[in-house]
Amino acid sequence: MTDWIDIGTLADIPQRGARTLQIAGEKEIAVFRTGDDHVFALVNECPHKKGPLSQGIVHGHSVACPLHNWTIALRTGEAQGGDKGCTPTIAVRMEGDRILIAPPEQARAAA
């Protein structure tokens, strides 16, 4: 069984926005909330030139990177359109209004 981590409530994240999350020893995570209240977590780095995806404009289930406007699918981390690249994703589960994420591999091994 996965040791899910409770990282807060839906209301902590602005709709069509994101917050970041730092777990020691891990890359910063961006936790997104879409217009229809789905929550996704990705490493906070664009596959292009590591732009902070958490700062982009969230539309549908995608985010537009703030640096050069690549569009990244939140569910898969894949760059859309003609662009190629993929950002690692982190599994998310909702329990009522609480957001739980699966710990990144490395951290789990250490735990």
Binding site: G17, I23, D36, Q55, H61, P66, L67
Partner: protein, 843 residues
Amino acid sequence: MDFQNNAGPETASEEALFMPSDDVREHMVVVGNGMAGCRAVEELLARDRDRYRVTIFGAEPHVNYNRIMLSPVLAGEKSFDDIIINSRDWYSDNNIELIAGDPVTAIDRAGKTVTSQSGRTVGYDKLLIATGSDPFIIPVPGKDLPGVISFRDMKDVDAMLEAAGKGGDAVVIGGGLLGLEAAHGLTLRGMKVTVIHLMDTLMERQLDEAAGWLLKSALEGRGQTILTGANTESIYGDGKVEGVRLKDGREIPASLVVMAVGIRPSTALAREAGLEVDRGIRVDDHMVTSDPDILAVGECVEHDGNVYGLVAPLWEMCRSLADGLTDRHSGYKGSVTSTKLKVAGLDVFSAGDFSGGEGCEDIVLRDASRGIYKRVVVRNDRIVGAVLYGDTVDGGWYFDLLKREEDVSGIRDLLIFGQAYAALGASGGGALDPKAAVAALSDDAEICGCNGVAKGQVVACIEKGACSLDAVRATCKASASCGSCTGLVENLLSVVLGDEVQSGPKTLCKCTSFTHDDVRREIVAQNMRSIPEVMQLLHWSTPDGCSSCRPALNYYLLCALPGEYRDDQQSRFVNERMHANIQKDGTYSVVPRMWGGLTSPRELRAIADVVEKYNAPMVKVTGGQRLDIFGIRKEDLPAVWADLNAAGMVSGHAYGKSLRTVKTCVGSEWCRFGTQDSTGLGVRIERMTWGSWMPHKFKIAASGCPRNCAEATIKDFGVVCVDSGYELHVGGNGGIHVRATDLLCKVATEQEALDHCAAFIQLYREEARYLERTAPWIERVGVDYVKSRIVEDEAGREALRSRFLYSQSFSQDDPWAQRAAGADSELHQPLEPPMPFGAIAAE
């Protein structure tokens, strides 16, 4: 877990309708005389009438009634008698003993008995738990005050009706299905109702934002007050409810508070009996719990990780349960659900997964004139979800296609128009091709419902030379109103013209068929007030737009509704959201305003302190005559601003589609060539114009003589001072395509220079397209046009100027001061999980 407001059978009219004497059949005891319990018994009887002797315990003092019809009872559309499912005769005809008004309080699995509140103990061979759900009561102070009611059973409805009889104000907490039905009923009963909803979208579990917005507007139109994004802090009152207080301090008076925030499976009894319980009572595919002699069904169960809150899944569960008990092996496989809101006159339907995303294609139809929004989500040629508002006749059809996982690629293009249209396409013999379907339509088939234009008319107008969508719109009005027939008209164009169709002017973005100018015109004409409203009324083809249209709409609304429109932060580019410029390493640069390029020891000291305190790796003098501090971390921004604010500095908006800087030269104060006080003028212009949002960035300069040291002739607005006054120049640009300004006019006084500047900016704000700088805008409309509005039309200039100043009265709030004071702090702070990592183990 107890029953809120339902603490016991005080009306315990315990009834034994039928007492079996010496029946030797296996005894089945049912706990819960509700929709699932009784349906399970019905299914069982239908399969094998004689196998079990049945006893049903019910906490409520009633026969089984249709719980979902409590809403029409509350609304006065039905009476209790109308909603009874199983009358007393049903129990007696089937030899069922009903013990109503006496809840079961304990199960003894070893002895195979149950005991009720009144002390009755009954043995069982098979036990069926069908206890449904308990309303969830949010744990706020005052939740137990008299007058706080949930919405679950007939008793709650009676209590609401009693309160409504006295009139007054009611608050419904929870804007989901249940809450809105309660609010509707109470409104019809004459109460003034406020709905408090935690999320930004009503019924967010069932609806997307667009449909939620339509619903909200419709309910507001019916006199309800809907507060979304509203968090209840407490319920207050002395001995009884007097009102609800929100976290933001607002107080809403109310003599009745209906708590409808959600339900929790009623599992206490099962848990105490030691059955496996997670979110609900765990059951297998035949509804058997962890004890083979105990079954459970309905809302109280968890099957394959899912719990349900609607009746359709219960029916399926009951069939599998009865099959299992009578040795048939169908097995329950989980349910896909659909929802309809039961509020008369409001048609809302949703089914499946409409969250969109990867591999999903949204097909959206918006028909503003009829208040319709439809969205069908397709993945791998199969419908996976649907949201319908305003016109739900095709809900059942979509749901059916969804459940059967039918391949819809053949009807893909006509799908959104509904079953009738799709069938029409098919009967035209070319269901695979929307063009063929359109070609097959008869000449008098209506294409445009709004303007009543038939196919024959559209074809005639195309044949007479209208060879683009816009030309068709202009000549025969088809698709000129709501636009929902745009696809049909485009198909007709290509049927008639083949490849000669001309594409129209560029649309705002791929989400809409309207241009920037169309959108702006309609926003003003129809007095639109929010982004979802624009998207609905103008038939956006995506649910919440894209990174091109959202910032544009946000700006257009901001410009159209100064002081009224609430800026949508999530529709702004990062720099405008963070009030700083993002750099390629994700840090930010901060540029404090220096009025007209002037600074002072105090400001310079504050900047130097910030650079040291936050380890900024670089400070640079910008081309705009101010200082740029580089390498500030997102988390430090509010503190940096607080320090700069303390020295009297405000944001330089170096990040915005807004007024950037007013560059000046030293002018007549110091320079031997200077003709006027260009520095003072620059400062005054900057004081007047700072903080204004524009279609794009806007730069100003003022030079003291034609030597033009401030490079005013490559600015959006430039002043070149001369002996006899001020030359005003517009539309200049540095950058890749250098463009020198056009001379707008010459004025005699500084005040006139300021007035012309304000009027010019407002004209640009109101008429240029988003992300169009003044240079391309002026090339597009012509400098003569600008002169005709600013120079020749004095009254018009004055009107523009005063609109600008009015709008400025709202925008000259220093965003840094707001943030430094704590506004939007979540934008800067990372999430803080409630427990340190690793401390939480799964159950």
